[in-house]
Subunit: 175 residues, 2 copies
């Protein structure tokens, strides 16, 4: 029973409250749940793949007018995104290191739900873990949920972990 | 990390192909996946709760006209359902026994999706595992899926395991 390790992909994103590159409440919760309830002390039986999908800013820039964009500006921006992504992954990689679980981190660009499903197809994990804000139907209409899309479309078993009641921020759309 | 065992509820149902009390393809698959990919050799860290929800026959009887129903007939029918349910659970309990995982089996009556969510509320498992036929949107409209309802409404993390491609019967609505 199970000579090969169980390969778990964990989709992680930044917090909208504390600001990038802090992990969101739901991705931190999903990660800790996976460690405590699934992996437990059986650390050598699991590998984790952290996937962080960065949504390209439509304007191209956060804090300057795109009309002034030079190729150099774009390069700097890409560089900055990369560094922020690495810092976000660092949180999870460090935790894994403490616990003794082998892991990898990936940073990609695009629409998170599409990229996650595409990477599931490519990397064929045994399980995809996604954090979820657990929004009500009204909030969902406007926000969309990555977890629901992945649950329907990803070609592997998917588990979504909702935030705990006591961790939900005042505006549930925040995370 | 994790002194308490991880309590996993597994919803199981009968096969529509081989006939009751054989387990359905999807519940057998979901169970084996949980053993192979999650529990692995860490058998003492997990408890399984098998929940089998029997849907009451609307006519009251499978193979006789309800106009002839006596209180005795009803009693026999209930008795027969009970025996069939026990036989279904036996399959899973025996497998757990072989593997060395502590488990319990429950038989209930009602609408499976409602009963499962209600039992999650009552028993508070760490994880609910449901097999899924993985039906397309067109088939879903007519059949409804227990897994989708549970994923949305059960008050614990939910994982649904689709049947493998090579296990799907000719009519995907069968299981």
């Amino acid at each position: 029973m199970g000579d090969e390790v169980t390969r778990v992909m964990v989709a992680v994103n930044e917090s909208s409250l504390k600001g990038y590159p802090h992990p969101s409440i739901s991705s931190r919760g999903a990660f800790e749940w996976t460690i405590n309830k699934i992996i437990r002390n059986n650390v050598s039986a699991f590998n984790l793949f952290f996937l962080h999908v960065q949504v390209p800013d439509e304007d191209g820039f956060d804090d300057m007018d795109s009309i002034y964009a030079s190729p150099e500006d774009f390069k700097n921006m890409k560089q900055r995104d990369r560094i922020r992504g690495v810092h976000l992954l660092e949180y999870f990689v460090n935790r894994c290191h403490e616990i003794g679980v082998v892991c990898q981190g990936w940073i990609m660009q695009g629409d998170p739900k599409e990229v996650i499903c595409h990477e599931v197809k490519r990397l064929r994990p045994d399980l995809l873990v996604v954090g979820s804000r657990g929004l009500g139907p009204f909030q969902k209409v406007f926000v969309g949920t990555v977890s629901e899309f992945c649950w329907k479309h990803a070609e592997c078993p998917v588990i979504s972990i909702k935030r705990k009641a006591d961790e939900i921020p005042q505006d549930p759309v925040d995370d």
